[in-house]
Symmetry: C2
Subunit: 416 residues, 2 copies
Amino acid sequence: MNEQLLLQGKQAREAARFLATASTALKDQALKAMAAGLRAEEKAILEANALDMEAGRAMGLTPALLDRLQLTPARIEEMAAGVESVAALPDPIGDVVKMWRRPNGLEVGRMRVPLGVVGIIYESRPNVTADAASLCLKTGNAIILRGGEEAINSNRAIAATISRAATACGLPAGAIQFVDSEDRQVAMDLMRMSDYLDVLIPRGGKGLKQAVQAHATVPVIMTGMGNCHTYVDEFADLDMALTITINAKTQRPSVCNATETLLVHEKVAKDFLPVVCAELVARGVELRGCERTRAIVPGMAAATEEDWETEYLDLILAIRVVDSLEQAMEHIHRYGTMHSEAIITRDYRNARRFLAGVDAACVYVNASTRFTDGFQFGFGAEMGISTQKLHARGPMGLEELTSTKFIVFGDGHIRQ
Amino acid sequence: MNEQLLLQGKQAREAARFLATASTALKDQALKAMAAGLRAEEKAILEANALDMEAGRAMGLTPALLDRLQLTPARIEEMAAGVESVAALPDPIGDVVKMWRRPNGLEVGRMRVPLGVVGIIYESRPNVTADAASLCLKTGNAIILRGGEEAINSNRAIAATISRAATACGLPAGAIQFVDSEDRQVAMDLMRMSDYLDVLIPRGGKGLKQAVQAHATVPVIMTGMGNCHTYVDEFADLDMALTITINAKTQRPSVCNATETLLVHEKVAKDFLPVVCAELVARGVELRGCERTRAIVPGMAAATEEDWETEYLDLILAIRVVDSLEQAMEHIHRYGTMHSEAIITRDYRNARRFLAGVDAACVYVNASTRFTDGFQFGFGAEMGISTQKLHARGPMGLEELTSTKFIVFGDGHIRQ
């Protein structure tokens, strides 16, 4: 176990004790100071980011990855505004979610409390450093941040800035900590630091998630893999289906809630597929279809088993014609990642069957899968999208960064 | 990976799909049939239990362990009645916990759904087989049961009985499954069966929990370790403190919510300790005290560092005199297992400080720690007491065996 990391863990644990009972006013003051710090340190952060961009170009990162990595004055302002918006959210800590009286007069309640120490391992976008730290601080959690090596200079500069600002307001230095190491062994150590971490949230690609699943002993919230489907039912409004399909595929193809496979009921396939395929191709989408799809719209590549399994994160769409709602649900069960799934239908019963039968974090009727997002759901923030069932499922806001404790008021009560 | 176990995992996964949308009526019918089955198979279950008791005696199990292992007609009736009481509870599945409308008209709700497949590794008491299976069935989860080797004959007989009864009602055979192996490697395999288990709940001693923490790749809900404290404040009603201390220590010393250490404010130590110690000794409790305790009540052994750390689960109590509420809280933070902690006080402010500052699943004012229990809290059932912060904390009832999914109703909504 890395000694520096162990020390950070201990300091985070101590800081978490302080944060657990810190007042909302103090936490919000620190958040505002962090936002001000980001604006004041814009130059230093941009300089650090320039080092990462240079190294990224030398490493041959794709333009898409370089774009994710790049900071600009506008992006730093956005980051600062994001931290301020977290300050403006209601503080969930101390909320008594529910309280009831037992027949013996004992009063039992559930009070929202912080999780304690949150670890986050993330890749690429440096704004996650500020986002995650502010959400954790608001919910009274200490945070240990371990960003991607390609963004280490940017992340270090951002973490130093916000940590300094928080400390200046009287928060303990352990509250926001940055793991300043590119050593993968240190990331592995972080996954196994059960004594000091209450939860680990990995945000990144398949490799990271597999490493976490294989090695973590800390409780984990898995996020983000999304092989999402849009199913056009036999009773769909085809104009609506067209609009939604285009939106779900092309509005932002690189994100986890974009649709990757279109399923079309055979009864509407002949009417719908030529139109939707033309519109998608016109928008630069590469299509890969099943036999029946290709019989209706010739010219596209054949979809393979691998296509059904793939989260493209790109302007590529797999298309399959299905016999029935059941077959569509079976396809989703087999290939989906339980992220976001949509049915387009005017039929009441089919909508209900899809809603009940599809096992996913978010199930949609007549809407784009792209809505799976903390802000779109009205949480005012997002810590990632959980694709597991334990603790948090779907977009995670502030509440998902909390636990509860039972508070029990008696009057000399003893157990009989 | 054990092949038989893998097959059970696959069958459980398939059964879980069926159970997720099974009607409340069908599930309740199966539960009632399971209860009837337990009553009808009383003789076979008692015979199987006799084999375990014989082996247990030969192995030299303690009388306490033998008592936990033993089944009687009365205990089988209790088990059957327990299953029936689960049938009588409201079904949480399908509850829409919350639903709201976004400014764009999109309606977003959270619906309670099963976790999927629950694995449980448990020790000793065979009634857990029926309890756990009935709670999982009620919540639409498939269950894979892996009991202790000392109870394997009893568990096998109970599992076969209830599984047969459920299947006869039309539930899939994979819904309730028993791992019929004493091989520890199979238990390890179960902990790593991430593709087929949604959660693993270990119920047993320290060894089991350490094995789970070290080896599990499946999400885990840790249960039960309880090093609980009762703190008698300087402003305590000493008569109440006496009654509660005796109850918390002696009403059932072998369970995780029994108090293991008594903390007494120095200002009341001279008045309180002689009385409480005499009463405890009269009830057969062995006392181990700090220096100051022993100066007031001579004759007891000195408490060591190990005593503060130990969950005795026995008629032994460690006692420490503290300078202040802060010192009591510091002691609890250092040695407690975040299970159940109590303050006895008449002081409003100290009660509030203790409630806010103590980080535990259940924090009590003027009541016995023995109330930490699903039935006592009014859940009508209990799947164990979680001592972790993720997903479930404290006594787990039916709701803790569920997840949620977002259901989203649109009218052609697309993301801008």
